[in-house]
């Protein structure tokens, strides 16, 4: 597909959508969002790129092998569950730490569920793109 409108739109939308997907991923704990939606959004950003140009360019932009990304996501999700074992809790119990950050009055709360959610994000992104890219490559 060689549509100038789509290609121009994709150039602007891709970074915006990716940024939005990260915002949605991180804010998910308190407001609507989370790793699953974030991953889907990021996937649609790259799917747009692949439709506007071709899969090759989208893969180049992604830089990472998709199945490796799925593996990384699964590993992160699993590893996040092991932290609680070190304090004697059950697997996957959420642990939270308060980290003081320069320039903020309140300390930032960081927990293992965030790591888990990042794993969800990467897995969803990798899985959806694997499906779309492999299907589309056969078409191309």
């Amino acid at each position: 597909m060689n549509s100038l409108v789509l290609q121009t739109a994709s150039r602007f939308l891709l970074p915006l959508l990716l940024l939005l997907s990260v915002v949605i991923l991180l804010r998910g704990h308190n407001t609507p969002g989370g790793g699953f939606v974030g991953g889907l959004l990021a996937a649609s950003a790259f799917a747009l790129q692949a439709m506007a140009f071709d899969v090759e360019s989208a893969r180049r932009m992604l830089r990472v092998n998709l199945l490796a990304m799925v593996g990384l996501g699964l590993t992160l999700a699993l590893v996040s569950g092991f932290f609680s074992l070190s304090v004697g809790g059950p697997l996957l119990k959420g642990l939270w730490f308060e980290v003081p950050v320069l320039g903020f009055d309140d300390p930032i709360k960081i927990g293992t569920p965030v790591l888990f959610d990042i794993g969800v994000y990467l897995t969803v992104l990798g899985v959806v793109l694997t499906m779309i890219f492999t299907l589309q490559e056969v078409v191309e």
Binding site: I24, G28, H29, N30, T31, P32, G33, G34, G35, F36, V37, L40, L41, A43, S44, A47, M51, R59, R63, V64, N65, L66, L67, A68, V70, G71, G73, L74, A77, L78, G81, G88, P90, L91, L92, G94, W96, K109, G111, P113, F116, D117, G119, V120, T123, V124, G126, V127, V128, T130, M131, I132, T134, L135, Q136, E137, V138, V139
Partner: protein, 803 residues
């Protein structure tokens, strides 16, 4: 204990890197770990022999009652020592044996992975934990048997082992669950008793006892290659020799024996006529005889040993069933030494002389004296030659004495033991004597020479330990065998065990029978041409109706049955798939209504339906009708997308912003995927006649109506108290207590915290689906004739490099 498992698991993962950087020292480096762990277990011998076990518990999923309970007692100690110490010797051996193999790192990862699973299996106290390790040994064994996967016999041998032990394992899982609940009945625990050390008395009186015995034994007997399931073990000899020595002689095949021994105190009835004992004696004795007999017709080194291992496993099962735990434990330890040694010798002969057939070779002693001495000692031990002070002699005397003390079965069992013993003597001569001292038919294929020290260490040490066992039993044999035997018996022995060989140097019937068996065995050796001719009619019969043949028929039937049902159920027509799914779901509803005899009441609260809702309802309905009338697939997909978006708006209106966002994203991506899939489908056309289309309309309308009623009914009824109040409280309590999830978005917290195990499972499913799509689309040959996979692999590597 848990630490040792963790160390081995990490070592398994790290093995490929160790292999890459340690070079020829890999065997030494890797063997050091199990050796250290084995030394730790050995240091526990005195305290365990005094009755002091070690228990370690870890709350894994306390909500499900799943605890990781590990327990070290006498029986577990015997097997833990075998797994770690023989494992260390085998790793040392493998470092040299596998040198130059292009997948050596992977091999060590599998082998140490197996070691971890086997150690976990013998230390686990929890039944579920035991089953998980049990299956892990099956899987790692599959990978190891099929390691040379470019050979057809490796692949079929691996699959056969997996099928037989896997099916038995499934039966065993059912048996263990029944066992746990039956034990719960007796102990008055509602959720069942899952720790083996807590099983109550009197299980044999429970109504489900026959089921427990049948199902658990199905797992144990297949795993331990008992008659008639023994055939997978000789096929598994396609694995490298050291794998056979380790898995298929010393450890894995004894897992079934281990579990029988472990559950014996709880499942035994106390009399030889009991179901448990009867089955054990029957299967054990049959296996002992058949295995030894079949071995006499073999000439390949490893197959001889494989069939004789089948026979030995039968001996162990039989001895436990006969109520001689001391003899069983003594035999397990002795067998691990002489058979492990001989398997490793078989590997050396193959590696250094290039020979596999013992009928052809001989006089190798001059070229490889150390190997020859080890083989000779192990052979004498295996034969149980009278008055030779070796481990095998002691074990054999105890076995014959057990046979002479079998009540009404004395005559039958003694005859079988002596017959199997004679065959075993013959096998021992063929494997321990003939290759090194016997007459050679021809020169060996390779210029034979002695093996390097890492390959010699384990067989020589095992052979020497066979002497130590019988001459200085107090050093290790007596405490280990006593502790293990008492664990099998479920109580202390009345008299101290005698494992010193000289104790058995007396004129007795047992010694006389042992001498008789030896003479018959030597006789068969000299008349082996005649023997093979005389038994060939039985071999022909075995080829027609033998167990291995039955397995082939069963596999063939499975394939044919799968084809037949696939042709009916999955004939490739998407319409048929959907129709069948809908009809099946409707059928289930109909069944539920018929069972309960009542239609669910449907709520009719339509007050909140305002203008916006009506717009949505009408647009969904119109889109649905339009979708069925369009003549193009792409247009249909787009219209379906409209329905999806409308549903997302409904979510947003009714306070589900998370669901709405997800629905929008999913709907968009589904349209994209649909468009890509449509490309592969043939041009759209209508082939169905009017009648078929009317039937479809009826089916679709019924299904839609039923689903709508169901949703309305679900919304108007409250079967359980809503859990949302608890979630709210746990997510952000008024007073933080350190336990809360610190979040306000309940949907997300449920996903990543409260029910994160579910999410993890779903992620794994997603990953598998992605791999499925990838393989389906990529592993087809493309039109140019080069496999797509090949190009893809290169590309992946490049990308991986960038990452």
């Amino acid at each position: 204990m848990m630490l040792s498992l963790a160390i081995l698991a990490l070592l398994s993962v790290a093995a490929p890197w160790v292999c890459r950087y340690a070079g020829p020292a890999r065997g030494v480096v890797l063997a050091a770990f199990p050796l250290g762990i084995g030394a730790w277990f050995a240091s526990k011998i005195p305290s365990v022999a005094d009755g002091g076990g070690i228990v370690e518990t870890f709350a894994w999923l306390p909500e499900l009652g799943l605890e990781l309970t590990f327990r070290l007692d006498g029986l577990g100690l015997l097997f833990a020592l075998l797994v770690t110490l023989i494992g260390a010797g085998v790793l040392l051996y493998a470092g040299t044996y596998m040198q130059g193999h292009h997948q050596i790192g992977r091999f060590f990862a599998y082998l140490i992975g197996f070691m971890t699973s086997m150690l976990g299996l013998v230390l686990a106290d929890n039944l579920i934990l035991l089953f998980i390790f049990w299956e892990l040994t099956s899987i790692t064994s599959y990978l190891l048997i099929g390691f040379n996967h470019d050979k057809k016999e490796s692949r079929s041998g691996a699959l056969q082992a997996l099928m037989v032990t896997g099916l038995g394992g499934l039966a065993m899982l059912a048996g263990l669950v029944v066992l746990a609940f039956a034990a719960g009945d007796l102990a008055g625990v509602a959720g069942g008793v899952w720790n083996m050390s807590e099983l109550p008395e009197g299980l044999s009186g429970h109504a489900h006892y026959p089921w427990i015995v049948a199902l658990v034994l199905a797992g144990c007997l297949t795993k331990s290659a008992q008659f008639p399931f023994y055939f997978w073990l000789p096929s598994a000899m396609a694995a490298p020799s050291l794998v056979s020595a380790y898995l298929h002689s010393s450890t894995m095949v004894k897992a079934g024996v281990y579990l029988i021994a472990r559950l014996h105190p709880n499942l035994a009835t106390g009399t030889a006529e009991g179901l448990w004992e009867g089955l054990l004696i029957g299967f054990g004795a049959a296996t002992m005889f058949v295995g030894a007999y079949l071995a006499t017709r073999q000439t390949l080194y490893k197959r001889l040993l494989a069939y004789s291992t089948v026979s030995s496993l039968g001996v162990m099962v039989m001895l436990i069933g006969m109520g001689h735990p001391d003899a069983a434990a003594a035999y397990i330890l002795a067998h691990a030494m002489f058979k492990g040694c001989l398997f490793l010798v078989a590997g050396i002969v193959d590696h250094e002389a290039g020979e596999k057939d013992v009928a052809e070779i001989g006089r190798l002693f001059r070229a490889m004296p150390a190997t020859g001495m080890a083989a000779l000692l192990a052979g004498i031990s295996m034969a149980g030659v009278p008055l030779a002070p070796l481990a095998g002699f002691v074990a054999k005397e105890k076995m014959i004495k057990a046979g002479l003390d079998a009540g009404p079965l004395t005559a039958l069992l003694t005859a079988l033991i002596i017959a199997a013993g004679s065959f075993t003597v013959f096998i021992a001569i063929m494997t321990g004597f003939k290759p090194f001292f016997g007459k050679a038919q021809r020169e060996p294929k390779k210029h034979a020479h002695e093996a390097p020290w890492p390959m010699l260490a384990a067989p020589v040490i095992l052979a020497v330990l066979g002497i130590v066992y019988a001459l200085v039993p107090a050093l290790f044999a007596t405490p280990v065998v006593t502790a293990a035997g008492e664990a099998i018996k479920g109580g202390p022995f009345e008299a101290a065990l005698r494992l010193d060989a000289f104790y058995y140097y007396e004129i007795s019937l047992a010694l006389g029978l042992s001498l008789l068996a030896t003479l018959i065995g030597v006789g068969i050796y000299f008349g082996r041409g005649l023997w093979v001719k005389a038994t060939s009619p039985f071999a022909k019969l075995d080829g027609v109706v033998g167990p291995a043949r039955m397995y082939d028929y069963a596999m063939l039937g499975l394939t044919k049955g799968s084809w037949a049902q696939t042709r009916v159920l999955q004939n490739g027509s998407l319409q048929v798939y959907i129709k069948m799914t809908l009809v099946a779901i409707l059928g289930m509803f109909a069944w539920a209504i018929w069972r309960t005899g009542a239609l669910p009441s449907v709520g009719t609260n339509f007050e909140r339906t305002g203008l916006l809702e009506w717009v949505l309802i009408i647009s969904i309905a119109v889109s649905a009708i339009v979708a069925t009338r369009l003549g193009s697939r792409l247009a249909t997909v787009a219209v379906l997308g409209v329905i999806g978006y409308a549903v997302a708006v409904v979510f947003a209106l009714y306070g589900g912003p998370d669901a709405a966002m997800t629905q929008f994203a999913v709907e968009t991506l589904i349209v994209v995927i649909f468009v890509l899939v449509v490309y592969h489908l043939p041009r759209f056309a209508v082939y169905s006649g009017l009648a078929v289309r009317m039937m479809d309309l009826l089916l679709a309308a019924t299904f839609g109506g039923v689903m709508a009623c169901l949703v309305l009914a679900a919304g108007s009824q409250e079967l359980f108290a809503p859990i949302s109040a608890y979630f709210n409280e746990a997510a952000m309590p008024e007073t933080p207590d350190g336990q809360s999830a610190y979040g306000r978005n309940l949907v997300n917290i449920i996903l990543v915290d409260f029910r994160s195990v579910d999410t993890l499972g779903e992620l794994v499913v997603l990953g598998i689906a992605a791999i499925g799509v990838y393989t389906l689309m990529k592993l087809r040959d493309d039109h140019e004739g080069t496999p797509v996979a090949e190009r893809e692999g290169d590309e992946d590597e490049r990308e991986g490099g960038n990452a």
